[in-house]
Amino acid sequence: MEISKELIEKYHNGHCSPDEIKAVESWLFDDEFTDEPTLPLPIGESKARIQNDMWEEISTVLPSRQKPVVQLFFKPFWRQAAAILLVSLAGLTAFYFKTQSTDTGVIIVNNVSETANKDLQESAYSLSVGPKSNVEINNETGRIEFCGAMLINPKRDIELTIQGICVRPDKAIEKMTLKKGQHYIALNYGNASNNNEVIILSQGSLSGLPPLMQRHLMMQFNI
């Protein structure tokens, strides 16, 4: 059933059939967003003129009923419906833009340089992506996927899930807490017994690596 201005007025005046009441109410409480506004402005009429007409109509009842302005503004029911529609639209738009910002919140850094790092400043941490390394960061989920080597320097204590994606992207990695002020090295480490050990080392445990690897990383990230 098409929801028209007349139908809403009829509903307000209590002249609707049970089917019409059901249709109007389901329209009123429906949060679904539709591209086509259900209640378009009548063709050929300007918004300003409709507004003027409405205000004229309202002004005729103002002195006698002495109702609060806000309540008056939402009379007749056509305006209540429009308000609900506007609020619904605003909500939907907000939701839509939020989803969009989640998409743009995924940061991808692909460092193709053979020697230089690529640096990135986020609000919670700074990141230095090593040469020939790539990183995908989802700030919403706190998930960082990487292949190569990177230095993470948290600005506050943060929880991150760091996943190596060079070879075995399905390997489950638990969330870990990185502490403010510490340096962390995340590395896809290829050694003799494992060609892709994903290791995340705090600056202290960096000392556990073979000396040559340790020096190489310290030199590359200048730590």
Binding site: G130, P131, K132, G148, A149, Q182, L187, N188, Y189, G190, N191, A192, S193, N194, N195, E197, V198, I199, I200, L201, S202, Q203, G204, S205, L206, S207, G208, L209, P210, P211, L212, M213, R215, H216, L217, M218, M219, Q220, N222
Partner: protein, 407 residues
Amino acid sequence: MKGISWNCFSTVLLFLGLSQLIACAPEKTGDQPSQKKKYSLYVMMKDGAEYILQTDTIDSGHINPLIQGARVTPSRIFYELIAHNNHYYRLNWKSGRFLQNTIINKEFVQTDSIQLAGTWSVDNYNWLRDTLLLIGYDAKNSKVRYAKMKLEPMKLIVEGEVNLPKPANSFNSMSIGFSTFLNGHLYLGYTYHKTDLNSYTTSDTLYVGELTYPGLKPIHTTKDTRSTYPGGINTRQSHFFTDEKGDFYFIACPGIALGDNPSKPTGIFRINKATGALDPTYFFNLSASPIHNHGYGFWYIGNGKAIVRTERKGLFKGMEDHYLVPHFDFYVLDLAKQTTTRLDLPLDKGTARNCILIENGLVYIAVNPNIGGNYIWIYDPKTSSLRKGMHFDDQVDYILRLERLNP
């Protein structure tokens, strides 16, 4: 007026002076710069802060770095230090300066320095009386560098390049695992690596080069494939020594933490003083012994006995937790009989630690397990007994260095 204000001023000064004296008196007795301490300890706290402690006794008592220690900055220099005659020396690889630091009034301060050529780190050092010889690989310029110097005051005698074959074929780096003087010649143990920012392994071959000294002309080179990664960086921990007879022993460490060629066994080699050659008949295969694991640090305790610090597979997952999980055992080795005896110590953590000191026939072993407390344990080889010595505050996470600082 003037007299009164001077009186007040001097009273205040006197009061301040007295209060300073009272406040500082107990600490100052143990903190005079002139009063040189025998031992130096380098620790890392649970919050990552690093301290150096100097003390005259390590066989008993309790020590708290927050009270008795000097904070060390920059951090993570513990594997680079050479402690000698009340000073700490290290090569700053960023600047190429060789620095002298001293603890003065509980502060780790730089007291001298000299500039060296190149960008390198020390792989090995050796003393020739009061002259220090440094050797290391300059990866940036593909050169084995050396520098010889006097220390007090610091004065460079000579520096240059050691003529060893450069990395070739698929190898792009190398390391000098030991340096020693035997029969007037310099012996260098070395090997080659394949490495980049994400990967690392070592050749299956170790090399022993014999050079003239001081001319550094190559005389003879021996190749051996019984194991690889000869010795190790001796600023980190001990990997070689000369025994009472003048024979030289070194450990080869192909385990994941040094050579990363773990299909090779960890083993001990000998260069005989009599022949001046790597003994082809001597190889103590530790991986095939009851130890059944790879090991790294190797200390001589006298009378043909040595201690090796060995990892325990199954207790760590890989390089990520190798440094964090207590999994290290200490074994006493009889070098001639090739037997092993495990010391009944708590499992120790930290991939490399300069943790053993031998004095007057006693062996002092700093052990930092996660539970049970951090102690210096005292092993008496004569009675094969172990007892606890100095206890460290519970906030200490790692005891990274234990060494003699002053005679």
